[in-house]
């Protein structure tokens, strides 16, 4: 097996004048090396939008700029870490040795670091022929925004930035490829959340007529979004296997991961909010600038659109307009990250609710309750075109406040403040749209199901497990529907040849879509089993039931036949089946999502998601005003994902995503210096929560079933990543209310808080020392 290593741009923005590989090719063990400049002609540009690059109107009226994005940079490098050349050697150590001999002549260019600034003044261009640095412009509006502002008692102006952070699965990315030239079959083992899409992308980018792929994902060591994006290594490593005729492997290092795997979240919203004096939010105008980094990642484009679509959140805000700019900069490309755009939207609207409460001198909880979409309004069509399935926001909020013991802590807060301690309470209510089905990326989930002559049931899922555990809930659903033990159900996933085509695992779409598909497939299989059973028993199918591994007559328990006998007959005794019945017990079921709209209307409105779980977080924090350090005294989170297939897994997903959200609120930060260098390239600088960091968390749930899916399921596993940032920022501002501190950026690290506290002290000082 050969080992591939990548030579990456050390510059954020540079012209690549020349890359020398001659010396490299002479080194011990080196078998192949090429650069973007000497890119083999068989390699074409990478797919840019989920499938075929034909979806030029991702929604409504966006202008998306397209350009051929080669897997190895040619002419220009646009972020630190962008692959420029590749070396394959017989041994990984030799490959890394050889990497040091790669010589490249770069002409550094000034980096573009600030998205808002370059939108206003595009002095330096990443793509010269564009004329600006705008990758995409998208607008969406609903209701009558102008009227809302005319009727407002107050108009608030609020700015909410979200900081750059990302998923960092502990398993880095890796690609292994092997080529069989006789069958033109490329076998690829990849750490992706979308094996079928990767296969399609490879077949498009490597121009060998008749090329076939088999993409396999074995157990994924965590996904969290970044493994949804499409990466250069997914083209280059398979190509090396073709070129050399030998299996090739590439394993990402951690610092490669932090510079070369997509980032998330960075965007800034500048809002105007029309408010009545009773606290009702009548309308919002939002101008969003998202920092897309220097590549072209479809998950990034998709993600920022979601931010524009879901700012109204759980509130009845009928008049909304979003004006979104996706701007390229010289940073790592923006891509999917647990919370996918909705995290930013939820953060924004929760900051808005807290600001409204503060400006009107009202209780933030009452403000939220006044604006909630009430339970009787569901299904509810929101201002941007989504039909929310169900929700009982006030009930869930009350449950969270009970768990927190809210009134106790309000009293404690007053008491402790008298002792000079700064304790605050924050609440966040976050919508977590799941099962994304935008045009070009799904709208369906397919399942193949087969009962073998032994009675064993094989279930082939179109989405692979990204480390969250699909096999057990799948087996549970099938076992329930067919009255068998889970041990008889075998779930197969993550193999593009064996499994039905699917767009992958993202957007928490297993619960809402996959669960429904599995359930309906199992029911179809049950019908067939009963029909075969009826023929064998001389009964009619409507008199039969499945029970404990048998088909039996509903009323008379003694007349029955074991499932494996039914299955055996279905495959081997066709003469016992009714005339015309298809043999076998195998089917493919395609579940088409009933609650999405694919094409946006003239105002950009689109029902991009089909199920709408949500969570309410409430937390109590104490800030040490001497040091800026933050202690979480209590944290609760109550979520609602409809009916839960496996409550223990859901609990794990919620607690785990809370850890992720707490990381983003407290520690995680992808920090660039003014030269465009990423300062946080390892886990000593990019801090994710350790066993010591997590506060004790109390979780609970309410159950509001999804009326649109069989089983009543919604997705789960992202809400926890969304709730903590707005909750903790609110709690910190509440704690520091006597100082009038407003949090500007995340994470809430001691140095930032201390800075804010010091600004207050300076202010007091300059005003003459009245503390």
């Amino acid at each position: 097996m050969l080992h591939a290593v990548f030579f990456r741009s050390p510059y954020p923005h540079a012209r690549i004048k020349k890359v020398w590989l001659d010396g490299v090719l002479k080194l011990p063990g080196v078998v192949a090396a090429f650069s973007g400049e000497s890119l083999p002609e068989l390699i074409g540009p990478m797919a840019q939008i989920p499938l075929f690059g034909v979806e030029r109107t991702l929604a409504g009226n966006p202008a998306i700029k397209y350009f051929p994005h080669l897997p190895l940079a040619r002419d220009k490098a646009r972020y630190v870490g962008e692959p420029v050349a590749v070396v394959a050697a017989t041994d990984k150590y030799l490959a890394e040795d050889a990497l040091e001999a790669v010589e490249a002549d770069f002409e550094p260019l000034p980096p573009v670091i600030d998205a808002e600034q370059t939108l206003e003044r595009p002095e330096v261009l990443l793509y010269e022929d564009w004329g600006d640095n705008v990758l995409m412009h998208y607008t969406v509006s609903g209701g009558d925004v102008e009227k809302a502002f005319r009727e407002a008692d107050r108009i608030l102006e609020i700015t909410v930035p979200s900081s750059r952070f990302t998923g960092t699965p502990i398993e880095p990315r890796s690609v292994v490829a092997r080529y069989d030239p006789h069958h033109l079959l490329l076998e690829v083992w990849d750490t992706t959340q979308c094996p079928h899409l990767v296969g399609t992308w490879i077949e498009r980018a490597i121009r060998i007529p008749g090329l076939k792929t088999r993409v396999t994902v074995s157990r994924l060591g965590g996904g969290f979004g970044p493994k949804v994006s499409h990466y250069p290594e997914e083209i280059v490593v398979p190509y090396l296997a073709i070129q050399t005729g030998r299996p090739v492997r590439w394993v990402e290092t951690r610092s490669e991961h932090l510079v070369g795997t997509t980032h998330g979240r960075e965007q800034i919203h500048r809002l105007q909010v029309a408010v009545k004096s009773d606290g009702r939010v009548l309308g919002i105008r939002d101008r969003i600038v998202a920092d897309m980094g220097g590549g072209h990642s479809w998950t990034g484009l998709s993600s920022i659109m979601v931010s524009a679509l879901y700012v109204p959140g759980t509130y009845r805000i009928e008049n909304y307009s979003g004006d979104l700019y996706g701007v390229v900069t010289n940073k790592t490309p923006f891509g999917a990250h647990r919370g996918f755009g909705k995290a930013e939207a939820a953060y924004v609207i929760e900051r808005v609710m807290d600001s409204v409460a503060r400006e009107l001198g009202q209780d933030p909880i009452e403000i939220r309750k006044r604006n909630f979409i009430p339970p009787e309004a569901f299904p509810y069509r929101n201002a941007t075109g989504s039909r929310y399935d169900s929700g009982q926001y006030a009930k869930t909020l009350d449950k969270a406040l009970d768990l927190l013991n809210y009134s106790h802590w309000r009293a404690e807060q007053t008491r402790l403040r008298r002792e000079g301690r700064y304790v605050g309470i924050g609440v966040s209510v976050v919508l977590e749209p799941t099962s994304s089905n935008r045009r070009g990326a799904g709208g369906y989930y397919s399942v193949r199901m087969r009962m073998d002559p032994t009675g064993t049931i094989y279930v082939f899922l179109s989405g692979n497990d990204d480390g969250t555990g699909h096999a057990l809930p799948t087996a549970q659903i099938v076992a329930d529907e067919l009255a068998v033990d889970v041990i008889n159900v075998h779930v197969v996933e993550g193999d593009s040849l064996m499994c039905p085509y699917g767009t992958g695992s993202y957007s928490s779409r297993f619960g809402g879509l996959g669960g429904a598909a599995v359930m309906l497939a199992a029911r179809q299989l049950r019908e067939k089993i009963l029909e075969v059973g009826a023929a064998l028993l001389g009964e009619t199918a409507d008199r039969l039931v499945l029970s404990a591994g048998s088909v039996r007559v509903r009323s008379a328990g003694e007349k029955q036949i074991a499932l494996n006998e039914v299955a055996r007959a279905a495959y081997t005794a066709l003469y016992r089946l009714p005339e015309g019945m298809e043999p076998g017990l195998e089917l493919i079921y395609h579940y088409r999502d009933p609650n999405v709209t694919f094409l946006p209307d003239e105002r950009g409105r689109v029902g991009a998601y089909s199920s709408f779980p949500y969570a309410v977080d409430a937390g109590v924090v104490e800030v040490d005003v001497e040091t800026g350090s933050l202690t979480i005294l209590k944290y609760v989170s109550v979520h609602d994902c409809g009916n839960q297939i496996n409550p223990k897994e859901v609990e794990g997903q919620h607690l785990g995503s809370l850890a992720h959200g707490l990381g983003g609120a407290l520690y995680e930060e992808l920090l660039y210096d003014s030269d465009g260098q990423l300062l946080t390239q390892n886990f000593k600088d990019y801090l994710i929560p350790t066993a010591l960091d997590l506060p004790p968390i109390l979780i609970g749930s309410t159950v509001t079933p999804n009326p649109f899916t069989p089983g009543g399921f919604k997705g789960a596993g992202e809400a926890g990543a969304v709730g903590p940032p707005p909750c903790l920022v609110a709690a910190v501002e509440d704690a520091l209310a006597p100082l009038g501190v407003r949090v500007r950026t995340l994470p809430l690290k001691p140095s930032s808080l201390w800075e804010l506290i010091r600004e207050h002290l300076d202010r007091v000082h300059s005003e003459g020392g009245k503390a």
């Binding site: 990497l99 002549d105 699965p169 157990r219 965590g222 290092t253 951690r254 607690l655 390892n682």
Partner: protein, 208 residues
Amino acid sequence: MKEKDNDSSKKSSLMTRRTFLKGGALTTAALSTGVLGAEVGEAHLALEDYPSALKRATVTLKVNGLRHRLEVEPRTTLLEVLREELQLTGTKKGCDRGQCGSCTVLLNGRPVYSCLSLAIEAVGKEILTIEGISDGETLHPVQRAFVQEMGLQCGFCSPGQILATVALLGKNPSPSEAQIRQALAGNLCRCGAYPMIFKSVQTAARLR
């Protein structure tokens, strides 16, 4: 390479293993663990020294009770030898620089990061990996506890978490939650399964 060196705009790649080793980090790590012997010098190689880099040392490693005689480059990490030479892929590589804990193995019962240990350091020590803790098909009590309490999600960090737990319980049979957190502080779990991991450790303490 030499004639091109005077142009400062020419850059080699980002931090590599070699520059890392050359940059003194190895010496620091070695001093702090106090385990490196005379072989240290082998790791300080210049690009011109390729032939000597390829010199191999013959070592005998005792892994999970079995002795393996191997020829390794002196600069090879224990992690690489376990995964690549011995095919013991239960030990994971998450960061390769001692920051995540996925590569945790036990050396004489002590948890160490195998990515920061050279294979040649492990000579004469009992190396225990995740493959070595069960008794045939019978899982180790710590493994049973992790299964019972669902002390994992994706499972990538689990071998490290489990071995760190085995080491903890070896010296402290009934740890408090604070002691558990402390003992597992070097093993990152990005799935955030910590609450279930802590519960698994407590259950393991009872099962042993």
